[in-house]
Amino acid sequence: MSHAASVHSLWTLAADAPKKIPGPHIEYAQLAPVLIVLGAALLGVLVEAFLPRRARYHAQVLLTVVGLAAAFASVVALAVGGYAHDKAHVAAMGAVAVDGPALFLQGTVLLVGLVAVFTFAERRLDPAVQGRPVDSFAAQAGAVPGGDAEQRAVMAGFVTTEVFPVLLFAIGGMLVFPAANDLLTLFVALEVFSLPLYVLCALARRQRLLSQEAAVKYFLLGAFSSAFLLFGVALLYGYAGTVTYAGIADVVSGNVQTPGPALADTMGNDALLLVGGAMVLMGLLFKVGAVPFHMWTPDVYQGAPTPVTGFMAAATKVAAFGALLRLLYVVLPGMRWDWRPVMWGVAIVTMLVGAIVAVTQTDVKRLLAYSSIAHAGFILAGVIAVSPAGVSSVLFYLAAYSFVTLGAFAVVTLVRDAGGEATHLSKWAGLGRRSPLVAAVFAVFLLAFAGIPLTSGFAGKFAVFKAAAQGGAAPLVIIGVLSSAIAAFFYIRVIVLMFFSEPKADGPTVAVPSPVTSVAIALGVIVTVVLGVAPQYFLDLAGQAAVFAR
């Protein structure tokens, strides 16, 4: 078809009598989890606007917990109703998938969010101001750090209860992200959960400059990666003439013979596919924190308020790996031979860099940041397997890992000195003598990170490596165990520091938390041990959820 002819056909098409545009058909019941969370978030904004300052904290916490619990209940209802298996399909006119992986990951994100709310709501760690308890968030986020306005806000004992609706918006985006079934929904979901996270990162009550620096870094790099993703989406549209996953997959596998007239020249051009696919992958790998897109992780993890770090480290990984899985398994399975070598490289570099650089860290939050990078590498090893076993192992790993992470960061909030949290590792010396219980709990989390048997970390690691080995990635497994050995070194170093070093005279104290943080930590320990000792039920769950709807 000549150029002129194609323009002509475009013109004639446009000149046709306007067809009736069908009203969108939305399956509200199947989208209930997302709708509930976003609805609760909107209500939270109203609460913030109309309730007196005194009543806001309790109202917000209650609203958030109820909203998340209701959303989780609806996820369970959908899963029980068969949407994870036989009724799995693509809802909302092809925009959102309701299938096993989506429901499993949404459930995980909601549980993570629920536990994170407990750590957000903690108000007993910082000394009360004017008899009013304060939490870990800035008194008045808009005030200049160190300025008069901030001074006044702190003196007045203000608290930023906006964090709760902001958190809910982030969770809402994270629910859509792993379920997104077209590229535009993917992008919108990405922005919906990223923007609230940037804001949350900037809200630390102590060390506000560090916190704001982290937020700016995260925002700039995040915006950069979003741009990559969006550009990739455009190129993929140019390649396939559609943004739906199923449509692109059809073109990739060569099932579509008659391209639309508008895109006849570019459609099926492999250069567009490769470049576009790579750019979308880049955007996702950034969120996952894989090397070489990991630069933001340590700074942001360190600067953000610790409850936010815990939430972000756990939930973002879950959501982003979900999206990555869907993209690779639904859209690009036909391209396996192109992306697998690249992902091999990324996985290997991520495991090694995460483990090796972590060895030199002196700040516990940065240490956990690099450890999260190494873990991203392990999970990628499961992603690469391209088999149902690979999907289920990744799902299991994400669930196991996120609770260990939440628990570990919750413990970090407890160890404090006069300047707030004492995150420098030298201050943790002798913690095991001063507070054996807290140190022992943290040791459990560290052992789980290190993948010692009888913890969830081991079961997860075994699952992904098993899937990788069966997928023929034996070298990946060997590099994986080697970097685990390196990683073990620094986890052990922290344990040595806590238990075998003499406590320093001016060392930090362990604050006694309110029940909310205790519950969060206890849940972390319970999940870690249960998934380590009796993982079968959860492996089954992940195994049943491992089939994508197309």
Binding site: I452, P453, V477, F500
Partner: protein
């Protein structure tokens, strides 16, 4: 569904650990008695195992238990014992009460620090935890189950080494603590690295079985059965790679030269009872696993690797013994002696003869008892003087004759004096090696000579000669200490004169292992010209 004796044997010390840890901070003595009671209960259960175990029965494993555990990984909770396992379980169960008794005061806090710091409860709870995990490892017939406890036992062991040491000597508290934590970290990293290499091999084993059998399995019986039926065949390279992955971990644990360097540090810095736990109990899991898993899962690769392993074990024997001769520190000397002895054990295992492997198994038991005795007496000696250096002692036998006497007897056992238990096993190992590898067997005997040297020189320098000033007021063994040493020495004497109960249990299991490797003993090649007849006898007259 029979009575879960094996589970119970391992569960009792685990429960004991919880119970001991739960004792309130102020009631230290109660914690000690709790721990001792649970360890004795475990001993009773091990004795029941020994009685219920029928040496001649059919099938490789007895008292078996099997339950589904992690279906997705092909993992079953499978326990079962053969003669080798029963002997080592008995050894563990016998030694732990003595370890607890010997370490009675090792974890008493120096001063009352924070009321929440409870070292005593922790110490005894960790010992019981290690015992529980070691017992499960001996009982497991599922590779994955074994692996889990093989790895997990590192954690309590690590805290035992790093958290509790001898009272500071002349170096001061800070430096002692630093050395101790270095030793603990070295112990953990060596063993963890070994374990992770093994993890790769374990995953590889799953991938192979899943590929060939349709469903991945870790059951030792199922895998050996499938190999016998021809349903499962390892490619040569795969089998060798998997064998090396397993063997590496066990060689670190055992330890075999050149992976041994963590042992002298760990045994030197840990208290004597913990050192006993390391060398007499935990390390035995390594040599035991070579027999049970390396040989039975990968027979062809085992035969392929035999020459190299024999040479390495020979190096271990001589290197350990030579370094023991040169040591100035009593505990490190015993550690190097142990490295030499582990060389003998591994030599016996890979000599691939019935005598060699029976000898190796007996050696594990006897080395456990003799080293425990020697190390614990050495610990009593060190606790009296506050120094580990040989040069700080002299003439002890004049002031503390019982201590010196027990030290001598356990030392003689360590050098394999005939009449004491280790002689039987060392002799069997050497004979077993000789029939197949005369040169290696010949060189290995040098180890015995060197053993005599390091033990007797140690005794001479510390116990004989003029009484040194600092030793003059040294008290002799107390009743508690005697209660620890006397039964161990009695055992050494008994098994030295009458090893039959042990060999009767061990031999069928060894024969089974040998049949798995498809090895038969070499025929004696005594030159026999013709059948000897009555006529010849007449002619000879």
């Amino acid at each position: 569904m029979s009575f879960p004796l094996l589970t119970l044997t391992a569960a009792v010390p685990a429960l004991g650990a919880v119970a001991t840890a739960a004792v309130p901070a102020a009631r230290r003595t109660a914690a000690k008695w709790t721990a001792l009671a649970f360890s004795l209960a475990t001993l009773v259960l091990a004795a029941v195992q020994l009685v219920r175990f029928a040496p001649g029965a059919k099938g490789p494993f007895q008292l078996t238990e099997s339950h589904a555990w992690i279906k997705d990984f092909g993992v079953r909770y499978e326990l079962g014992v053969d003669g080798i396992a029963v002997a080592l379980i008995a050894l563990t169960a016998v030694l732990v009460p003595f370890v607890i008794l010997a370490g009675w005061h090792d974890a008493d806090p120096l001063e009352t620090k924070s009321s929440r710091w409870r070292p005593t409860q922790g110490f005894f709870a960790l010992i019981l935890m290690v015992e529980a995990m070691v017992l499960i490892a001996f009982e497991a017939t599922d590779v994955f189950l074994f692996y889990i406890f093989f790895e997990a036992m590192l954690i309590p062991m690590y805290f035992l080494i790093g958290g509790f040491g001898d009272r500071a000597g002349e170096h001061g508290e800070a430096e002692t603590a630093a050395q101790r934590s270095y030793a603990a970290v070295k112990f953990l990293l060596y063993n963890l690295a070994g374990g992770l290499i093994m993890l790769a091999a374990v995953i590889g084993l799953y991938a192979v079985t899943a590929h060939q059998l349709g469903a991945g399995t870790f059951s030792l019986q199922e895998i050996t059965q499938a190999r016998a039926d021809g349903r499962l065949e390892f490619a040569t390279t795969t089998e060798r790679a998997l064998f090396l992955g397993f063997f590496f971990a066990f060689a670190v644990k055992a330890p075999l030269w050149p992976l041994h360097t963590w042992l002298p540090n760990a045994m030197g810095e840990a208290t004597a009872p913990v050192a006993v736990l390391i060398t007499a109990v935990v390390d035995k899991v390594g040599t035991f696993a070579m027999l049970r898993f390396c040989l039975q899962l990968f027979p062809e690769a085992s035969k392929w690797a035999t020459p190299a392993i024999l040479v390495l074990s020979l190096v271990s024997i001589l290197y350990g013994a030579l370094l023991a001769v040169g040591q100035r520190d009593i505990k490190r000397l015993i550690a190097y002696a142990s490295i030499s002895h582990f060389g003998f054990i591994i030599l016996g295992i890979f000599a691939m003869t019935t005598q060699g492997q029976s000898g190796a198994t007996l050696y594990m038991v006897n080395h456990g008892i003799s080293t425990a005795a020697l190390m614990l007496v050495a610990g009593f000696l060190i606790s009296r003087r506050g120094s580990r250096l040989i040069a700080d002692y002299g003439g002890v036998q004049k002031v503390a004759p019982v201590l010196a006497g027990t030290f001598l007897v356990s030392g003689l056992a360590t050098l394999s004096l005939p009449g004491l238990a280790p002689f039987v096993s060392e002799f069997l190992v050497l004979v077993g090696t000789f029939t197949r590898h005369p040169v290696i067997g010949g060189i290995a005997t040098l180890g015995i000579v060197l053993a005599a040297l390091y033990v007797l020189v140690l005794y001479q320098r510390t116990m004989t000669g003029p009484v040194r000033e600092q030793v003059r007021r040294m008290p002799d063994l107390r009743a508690r200490e005697l209660a620890v040493v006397a039964p161990l020495i009695a055992l050494l004497l008994f098994l030295g004169v009458y090893p039959k109960p042990l060999t009767k249990i061990v031999n069928p299991a060894v024969e089974h292992t040998m049949s798995q490797v498809h090895k038969t003993d070499p025929r004696p090649d005594v030159p026999v010209k013709a059948p000897v007849t009555a006529h010849d006898v007449e002619a000879a007259k």
